[in-house]
């Protein structure tokens, strides 16, 4: 099922992916293939289920490739999106089908931005344990945001009682150089 139309105007200010870029004429938007023919669509609205994680990952990989990233970098970006979407589906929305996850892609001349918002009750990012600490190495979970930070240039987590918004930013490849800056 295709997600419901989603306009930036409907997004609460604190959940907007890139207010600065949004005001620029240089901004173009990238849409997943499934939505390419529906120009009104600007985001994926996903149900809170495991399959949505795969969908977000695929959409991110396609969008990253179209934004000029190489396959390896596109996979790292899509993995970051996957990890944050897992958190949104599992921890944020608690697999509640009534709650949605919004995944939005925005490409400016310089940046590839993905915003992932859930409808959970938020969490305290400072409570996250360091997965590299010796006492945490054998923990089964707790590596998602760490991996996203490893693969992206910026990861901004904005929790609130209305849901958590995570903004992932990757600098785009420099035209003509053919390599990513990171």
């Amino acid at each position: 099922m295709l997600p419901a139309p989603c306009h930036l105007e409907l997004i609460p200010r604190n959940l907007r992916p890139d207010d600065h870029a949004r005001e620029s004429d240089e901004v173009i938007r990238v849409f997943p293939d499934a939505l390419a023919t529906m120009q009104e669509q600007e985001a994926l609205i996903l149900e809170s289920r495991v399959e949505s994680v795969d969908e977000a990952e695929r959409a991110a990989a396609q969008a990253a490739l179209r934004a000029g990233f190489g396959e390896d970098e596109a996979q790292r970006i899509s993995m970051a999106v996957r990890e944050i979407t897992v958190n949104a589906v599992m921890h944020g929305n608690g697999y509640d089908r009534a709650k949605k996850v919004r995944v939005e892609f925005l490409v400016s001349r310089q940046d590839f931005v993905v915003s992932i918002c859930d409808e959970g009750s938020g969490f305290d990012p400072s409570s996250l344990a360091d997965p590299l600490a010796p006492e945490n190495l054998l923990r089964q979970s707790g590596r998602g945001i760490f991996l996203a930070r490893a693969f992206m240039d910026e990861v901004d987590v904005q929790p609130s009682s209305m849901g958590t918004s995570v903004r992932l930013v990757k600098r785009r490849p420099i035209a003509g150089v053919g390599q990513q800056r990171k």
């Binding site: 897992v86 190495l137 054998l138």
Partner: protein, 112 residues
Amino acid sequence: MITLNERRIDSVTVVDIAGRITLGDGSSALRDAVRELLNRGETRILLNLGKVSYIDSSGLGELVSAFTQTRKAGGELKLLHLTRKVHDLLQITKLCTVFDIKDDETQAIASF
């Protein structure tokens, strides 16, 4: 999509894994396979990841869980033939300091 095939060489069970070890089917298939081996008393386990194209944090967690469960059972679990991407992932997460990682199957089996 994930496939797992078991081979027995000497006292070691080699599990050839292909596909993705991710949240959902991939992770649960690995969990079930290792649990079944341990239930059968097969506690020398070599996971061949040569055809594993992708592992997410859930899959990493499942590998860690398999490692600790095997150790609790008095056995050993080692990894074989990591792809570059999977190796990078284990380095980033420092899990390469946890696992015994092998490049050669014969030597890996002899190391148990």
